[in-house]
Symmetry: C2
Subunit: 292 residues, 2 copies
């Protein structure tokens, strides 16, 4: 297992972690500058933040600072209740692949989507099996394009509390079953993003991480599960402040062959987004060394 205690050469910052500074939206160029100033070697930006700043400018800025991208967030949201909706999702995902390619990301992270309409608070049905079939078909189709440009797709199993509205792929086992179906040769074109927040509770986690192996483990995300958790989406904790044994899970992914970045992804309306972003980054660096 790699020793993280001496430096932060394996730290990546998911830019949603700094989405706000003292409660105010922080533009991506400032996030990038703040990371670069601290010698943080990698980031994983969100599409909306990239679009707001302009893809070309972000691409230049990333190169200027020599930053790597541990991932690009995010594609997915495949299910729809109309053919038009399915097509629109595919087209948007193709663009996400191309943007990830332009930014030279390690992978495009897929949050696959749930029941059509649910994210907007107006679910149009209850058929989660159908949504899952649409996800499988959507990934299969997207793979044709992503393979052709060499951009790996990382299915992120989301915590089951997001099954209705964000992602109907909810365990590592389910994600790996999809990978085996769509990429049986383990070519590297399809794998998983392992986010401790979503999977820490899973009694089969260790065995499924081993099953994933080096070829399928495309990203490793860290934060913490707070007790109590007061909001389903925006109450994630800083590593060390909750009950996830982050280091143990990292030992499992490294035993399986993962040697990439440890990416900090924290959505925290009540705490970390209310702090000054420089302070948040300093704590990320410290916890990366002491807890992750």
């Amino acid at each position: 297992m790699r020793d993280f205690s001496q430096d932060h050469r394996w730290l990546s910052i998911n830019t949603a972690t700094l989405r706000k500074s003292r409660g105010v939206e922080l533009p991506l160029p400032q996030i990038i500058e703040a990371c670069a100033r601290r010698g943080i070697p990698a980031i994983s930006p969100w599409r909306d933040q990239v679009h707001a700043a302009g893809l070309a400018d972000i691409s230049k800025l990333v190169k200027l600072h020599g930053l790597e991208l541990s991932g690009y967030c995010r594609g997915g949201m495949f299910p729809a209740s109309t053919l038009e909706g399915l097509r629109a999702a595919h087209d948007d995902n193709r663009r996400a692949v191309d943007e990830a390619r332009e930014l030279n990301a390690r992978c495009l992270v897929l949050v696959v989507g749930g029941l059509p309409g649910a994210l907007a608070g107006k679910p149009e049905g209850k058929d989660i099996a159908l949504a899952r079939a649409q996800v499988r078909d959507g990934i299969a189709k997207l793979l044709e394009h992503s393979r052709s440009v060499g951009m790996p797709l990382a299915i992120e199993p989301l915590h089951p509390m997001y099954a209705a509205d964000r992602a109907c792929v909810n365990t590592m086992e389910q994600a790996l079953d999809l990978c085996d179906e769509l990429d049986p040769s383990r070519s590297g074109a399809l794998g998983v993003a392992c986010d401790v927040y979503h999977v820490w509770w899973d009694p089969k986690l260790q065995s499924q991480i081993a099953r994933a192996g080096r070829e399928r483990l495309l990203a490793f995300h860290v934060c913490d599960w707070l007790v109590p958790t007061t909001d389903l989406l925006l109450d994630r904790g800083m590593m060390g402040d909750g009950i996830i044994d982050v280091r143990r899970i990292r030992s499992w992914v490294e035993d399986a062959g993962f040697d990439g970045y440890s990416e900090v992804e924290i959505f925290s309306e009540r705490d970390w987004w209310q702090r000054e972003h420089g302070e948040v980054l300093d704590v990320c660096v410290e916890r990366h060394r002491s807890v992750v």
Copy 2:
């Protein structure tokens, strides 16, 4: 599949559903009277409500109205960080078994517990594997007593969002693995409570319900998952108001041989606990017929 549309002979009311009427705590005797008045044939009372009213009185009242108990809520909470704590949990669970026996309940429902201290907001560790081992050992020991008095134990897998503080058994598969380990002969002494709120998202649900079979399916609980859900514990929906395909899941448990009550268990601080309890019961009856 049984036809529920014509009457409510298979309806049971978990008494937590009527914990409050217009926001004010409602004593168990009044809950029982209200159920009996509507010809509801079964209830599943909570221990704290029974204790507040007195076990002997509740036992008499239940007999007076000829009510059946689809379950007794609840035993469990096995993990502890001290030997004394483990022993206290065992003693309390023995008492719960005896109370369930006195009330002639179909089973004692087990919410097995999570990380010691977490429910009180002060987790004492992060070792969920240890908590799971304590749960296994605790159930094994309790089974000696529960078998001797003929009270079946129903392990309730809880939604993974409760893994830290309420139950570290989080899927039907995990619960059934425990059953197979501790009661390999499928004697009827150990099984599961299938609550649609906790398991609806599980991609393996149908196959695991089939695996459970008649001997292991001791209880079936219904409510709904709201979109959005605003509180992790107290924002359950009435059947039909959310995205769970309750009837499909009922068809699976009935295909597996379950022929018991469909028990309504709704914790709803913002909605149903604010209404008058008679109105809530009337809606339960109507939705039992039209949605379940």
